[in-house]
Amino acid sequence: MATTARSGGNASGSTAQRPNGTQQNKNCQFKLVLLGESAVGKSSLVLRFVKGQFHEYQESTIGAAFLTQTICIEDTVVKFEIWDTAGQERYHSLAPMYYRGAQAAIVVYDIQNQDSFQRAKTWVKELHKQASPNIVIALAGNKADLSNIRVVEYEEAKQYAEENGLLFMETSAKTGMNVNDIFLAIAKKLPKNDGAHNQGAPAGRRLNDNENNRQTNNCCK
């Protein structure tokens, strides 16, 4: 008796179309984890992305910490919960606790360190084997500002990334080059609607505050 929902007419689907609308935006939260050998610049990338800063002397991470950063792409608000983990080999066995349940990972290497590139490949392999199957992985060749003393060639890494279905960019936490872009590229690639076409996928958690879920579909006609 309260809601006389008469259907018919040109009742629209579940979301009203807003011609000028940033109004009807979706909210998604994603867990993103950074992996890679120690000192390749994982913490620096997070610091650059979240706070826009860079420290020549970046304290080494002994643990795992997260920062949140929200970006808007088109009509979607994407909130990243970014986990920066310690890269030392001795902590390797703990890594699954952090990449498990992550919807995205950035595997970082240092373009002037061949070992770190090899290590990155191992991480990618491990993620493919053990992380959730739809995880979006990006490969970041960091310290691109030092490209004059590089040892890992751009093309080599690019080709590896293509073969393994990874996003790839060379980044510099120092200059900020490609830092926002790599996160943005990930956000674009992540599945945003918790619709039926990606069941089982670690789709972004829809934020539960009713920030934007004023129902429009209960309109009567």
Partner: protein, 909 residues
Amino acid sequence: MNTDPAMTSKSTTLSSLNSIPTISAAVSSSGLLGSVASDNDMRDGEISLNTIEIVQRKFKDNEKVLSIFEAYQIIGQEHRSRLLALVVSVAGGTYAVFSLATARLPPRNVNDLSIDKIFALNETFQIGSDKKGSISQLQFDLKTADEAAVKYFYYPIISAEGASDFETFHAQIISAKFSMTHSTAATESILSYSWLNDYRQIGEVKQELKRRENEYIVFKDFIVYCGTWNVNNKPYSDSPLHLWLSNGEQPADIYAIALQELDTSAKAITFSENRPDPMWISKMLSSLHKDGEYEELTSVRLVGMMLTIIIRKQLRPYIARCRVKTVARGVFNTLGNKGGVAVSIQLNEGNLCFVNSHLAAHMAFVEARNEDYAGIVRGLVFDDDLKRTINDHDHIFWIGDLNYRIEEPPGLQLPCNRASPNAYDVLMKYDQLRIEMGKGNCFDGYSEGRIKFRPTYKYDVGTDNFDSSEKQRAPAYCDRVLWKGVRIEQLAYNSIMEIRQSDHKPVYAIFRVKIKTKDEKRYKRIHEEVLKLVDKRENENQPQISVDKTVLDFGVVRFNELSVCDFTVSNNCPMPVEFMFKVKDPPLNDICEKWLQVEPRAETLMTDSTKRVRVKLLADVRSITGLLKKIRTTNWKFDFDILILHVKNGPDMFLTVTGEYKPSCFGLSVETLCRTNQPLNTYTQAQVKDLMNDDSPEFRVTMPREFFFLIDYLHKQGNKVEGAFETLEYKHARSLQFNVIRDWLDTWSSEEFPGTPQAAAEALLMLLDLPEKPLLDPFVEDLLQTNTAAEAMELISLLSSPRRNVFVHLCMFLRQGIERQYYNLQHVASVFGRILLRSTAHAGRDFYRETRCRDFMHRFISSDIGGTLSTGIADSSGISGVGGGANGGSSNGGGGGDGSNTARINAIN
């Protein structure tokens, strides 16, 4: 008021109410704060604000923080700071107490504050403070119908600048509540609490966006066209509805068309007819302003009342919410022949409510009409996210047959004359609705335009003549359009004489409404700013702890010796922090390895406090197997463990437990022991790791010297060993005395055995039981399938030579002891069966399996199989090799022991 316990318990304060600053005084003094707060560009920190000014920044310009009070809640074991703020909405005319969580006390800026709870000072609000007993002295609770009672505590001393003491704060609340309940003849309808919805049930982002609304909200004009007509139970007909519905220069954006007495048949009433009438609706749609393209948004009907909302087609995407609701006020308030139907919509950012009501009829029933009005206001709650009432809307249009009559003044001539507009004003003096509104008995806060049309009731159908029947009903303005809310301007208000189908004339009113609308560009920018701010707040307010070390070095760790290492966790952040050790993945499923103990495993730390965490390391019979396995299999640098110190809602810290394990024979496989050429105490952890991973078939001795020493010692004890091997419990292993035996074995000591025969028997069991794999590995399961000793012997001969030799010698040794009646055959078979044939698959006890193990051992140790044993030993020459190996290895003494050991083995042969 009498039901308010606070009122009775705090009567002293009430009586002294006059002595405290009144609320109105506080409002005016807070004008100062308002001006500071409204200056949004002035960022926090540039000027130092006192606490009340910071709190004010959490609110909008027309919401004033009157006073604040510092309290705390106890949640679990934590004390959580709360700032309680008494806030008044100038627009709503209502007060509320907000409970704000604060990241630090006093808060440094508005970012430290988040709204935790809201208590509207409505009629259900209660503040209770029993002043009895010492503990409850500094506590009170707040409660409303929406919020369950919340207990607050407070300190006798105020730290926040500008905060009130409890007496003052309490009195202000009581006085605020009092002022509302007594301001307007107790009619709830004028008081709006809708402003509180901006702070309720919404995330931080939304709250912040609301707060900065004035930066991106613009007002857009919309034309709202309201029509009402009592159709007198007449069926749909060809009346020229366009005369009624297509007025105005501009086409309206929204039509709200109200009909009454659509079908008042008994059937319709009893069955509460609620299907909108499509005939009427299509007639309406075809009678609207010619310049607009329209569609029906919704219709709602309750028996005779129908309200149809029609909008311009292009508006459809901007309608974010649309709800309908009906309230019946007919007989017994259930039948729907009287009452109201309403529609609530959100257009852009504005909330509009349209009500069509048909109130009680007849000249005398003024009070019934007032009651109907109040009943509709009370009963009309939309089923939306905030359970909006009529008053929770920005723009309200109340239209319908309100049925108020004109009190017939003696001598006044009716009907009046169309030509003299002033005559209408005279009539209005006797209009019951205006009179009742003037007294505050109904429609509080509503406005109505000036009436310049003839009474709309009651006409002879088909004419413009007032009722000529016997009843001669006095003409009246039954049909009205009222409005309430902000930014509404009436453009027209009239009736249509030319529609003569009913005994009522239709009435319409046109409004220009300025509706809150987002400037999308500015909104986008501010939205992004807000998201950044909220991120920043979240990141900066993350709980943090520090530890005095991240490496816990235990130094030299020895078998069966407890070591302890402490570290300190400190909370230097401005809020209480919960820390705990994280449970690690399977198979561990615990916060630490078996050889570690952590105390405490979780704790809450208040600001500026520390906690010592104790980590104990003990590699004993329970854990040595796992520890040695970890040493054997760790490829990288070995750590005893890495603890994950987790801060709730914050980071994890890795604490590495390091040290050097000093090897012992316990837990090592017989193969590993046969690869040693020196006592174990001379090996390093790394060397033992290599030995454990060495899988060459070459051994330095045929059986472990440590095994041999124990067997030899036990053998020599004669009847002193009586009763040994009865159980699998290592009673002595827990005592320090046991470590002397450990050292005796790990140094290949030539001294006398330093313990009792029972201790030696236990040490033997441990030596055989602690290795990762049972002695008869890898044939345990196959051996359990065998039925005869001969059959089993074939498998035994396939064991590695150290295993085979140890097994055969153990059996011979045991058999002899049994023959001499030192041990009980059943016990021995049972104990050694469980050890030598231990299952590697499952840890729990399996009694059926244990029986099979015992039977197997029984068969081997039984006296009549000596021949089988000796013939089964393919490598019998190795036996003497043991003696030799031992001799060579312990060249620095123990000759006597060696000699007798060799003799002993030969004797066994």
